[in-house]
């Protein structure tokens, strides 16, 4: 079954994106190109729904990805006809199409200049600002991207998406403390986001195992990661990613237990729980992971939602664990 056109398609697999963009001709044909706002005509024609424009936008993204430029331009034309050239979101989509069409650095520079020109007129145009940052990152100009992202966050500090992008940018440069800070900001705005808790746990685990981390710092990161993964499985039953991380962290903590000399100096610091608690957590994670893997492999009803690759990774982790205990 094809995924819905009502949600942004950027996370879909290539096969799903292909499926979506193959729908393009039929969707374009069956949906109205323009919706008249004249009162008399709108009485008789089908009413306009916000879904329609969302559909065009997502179809545009899928078509750009699969290289179906004709359909993409058609979608864009319809959006422009409805919302006008000056709409901020349409401007960003227009830029996106140009980015996809550009095939050398010169063309990209021109697109970047156009973004700058739009922003010179109105520097609070958030969709275009985000496009500009994404383009800078795509061109490999990371420092500039970070600088403009920080500028964006200066005037719009309650945008979790931007904070999350900043965390990703910092992480790509190996700047763990900054990435963790940005992810904590995301969690301030979305405290129930179980995947972001797991993400923060993963980044903290990476920071703990990075080369050059001192013993005390690595201890602190591991304790924090333990906390984050525990929160993520508390927020979401049977969360594969959370249990996977929990198992990794507890295994590491059991292997080289924290030195008692390391004391919590700060009140905010989270002390590592006792060894028995950690062992219990490890057992719980192992049990849950094997249950998930078993039920998914047995193709039980209501257990189909997991990602194939994630299940494979969990299976590998479990088998590693089993071989270690045998020895």
């Amino acid at each position: 079954m094809a995924p819905s056109l009502l949600h942004p398609p950027s996370h879909l697999s290539p096969a799903a994106a292909l499926q979506l963009s193959q729908q393009a001709p039929s969707v374009l044909q069956s949906s109205p190109a323009t919706v008249s706002s004249a009162p008399l005509i709108s009485l008789f024609s089908t009413s306009e729904s916000p879904d329609l424009w969302l559909k065009y936008e997502n179809l545009l993204l899928s078509c750009l990805r699969t290289g179906d430029e004709h359909a993409a331009h058609q979608c864009l034309d319809r959006l422009v006809a409805r919302f006008g050239e000056d709409n901020e979101r349409v401007q960003a989509l227009h830029g996106l199409v140009k980015e996809a069409d550009a095939n050398n650095t010169g063309a990209l520079e021109i697109v970047l200049k156009q973004y700058d020109a739009i922003l010179a007129e109105n520097d609070t145009n958030i969709p275009v600002t985000k496009r500009r940052i994404a383009l800078l990152r795509s061109m490999g100009r990371i420092p500039e991207a970070v600088a403009s992202l920080i500028q964006l966050l200066d005037f719009s500090p309650t945008d979790p998406e931007a904070w999350s992008e900043l965390a990703d940018l910092y992480l790509s440069q190996g700047m763990y403390p900054q990435a963790i800070f940005a992810l904590e900001e995301v969690l301030l705005m979305a405290p129930n986001a179980w995947n972001m808790h797991a993400r923060l746990g993963e980044v903290q685990y990476m920071a703990a195992s990075a080369t050059g981390a001192t013993d005390a710092a690595s201890q602190k990161y591991l304790a924090e990661a333990l906390k984050r993964f525990s929160r993520s499985v508390e927020l979401c039953d049977d969360y594969l990613r959370g249990y996977y991380g929990l198992k990794l962290v507890t295994t590491k903590l059991i292997k080289d237990p924290p030195k008692p000399a390391v004391k919590a100096t700060d009140l905010d610091d989270f002390a590592v729980p006792t060894t028995s608690t950690i062992e219990k957590l490890n057992e719980l994670a192992t049990e849950k992971l094997s249950e998930i893997v078993r039920r998914y492999t047995a193709k039980e009803r209501q257990w189909h939602g997991y990602d194939e690759a994630e299940i494979a990774a969990a299976r590998e982790l479990l088998s590693q664990d089993a071989s270690q205990t045998e020895r």
Binding site: R65, L235, D237
Partner: protein, 146 residues
């Protein structure tokens, strides 16, 4: 399970219709009797009340209809955050299908997924490149199979 609820509701409706019809017939008969009564001086004294079996039938029919309708309700949605989130992770969109196999309209998957995919910052050139590579590699795989 839907046919059980449907037959129960239908049976209840038949009973209710029967009770209504009986009540109507009864009142028609009553009024006929009073007008043709030999003693016209006291027409109001005969209290026109329904017989017990008709009232009982109405009550039972209503109860059966309620029961049938309650049987036919779709499974309740989880109201605890972790149960709901777990359902999304475990079942994907399958958990949110109605009886016709259509995914319910307000299903969005994990609503916080957007914080990791970040559609506002999408790198379209890399996606395009990845897609082209996927096409090439899957094409090679198919050739190898042939």
């Amino acid at each position: 399970m839907t046919w059980i609820s449907k037959t129960t509701t239908f049976f209840g409706l038949v009973l209710l219709a029967h009770a209504c019809y009986s009540a109507q017939e009864h009142s028609a008969l009553q009024s006929f009797r009073t007008t043709s009564a030999v003693n016209p001086s006291s027409p109001g004294t005969t209290a026109v009340s329904l017989p017990l079996d008709i009232s009982l039938e109405t009550l039972v029919a209503t109860a059966i209809i309620c029961f049938g309708l309650a049987l036919g309700t779709p499974p309740l949605r989880p109201i605890q955050w972790r149960v709901w989130a777990g359902k999304i992770e475990r079942e994907g969109e399958e958990g949110f299908m109605n009886a016709d196999g259509e995914v319910s309209r307000d299903y969005v998957g994990n609503p916080f997924k957007m914080l990791e995919t970040r559609p506002g910052f999408v790198d379209i050139r890399r996606q395009k490149k990845d897609f082209a590579e996927w096409v090439r590699s899957s094409g090679e795989k198919q050739e190898a199979q042939i």
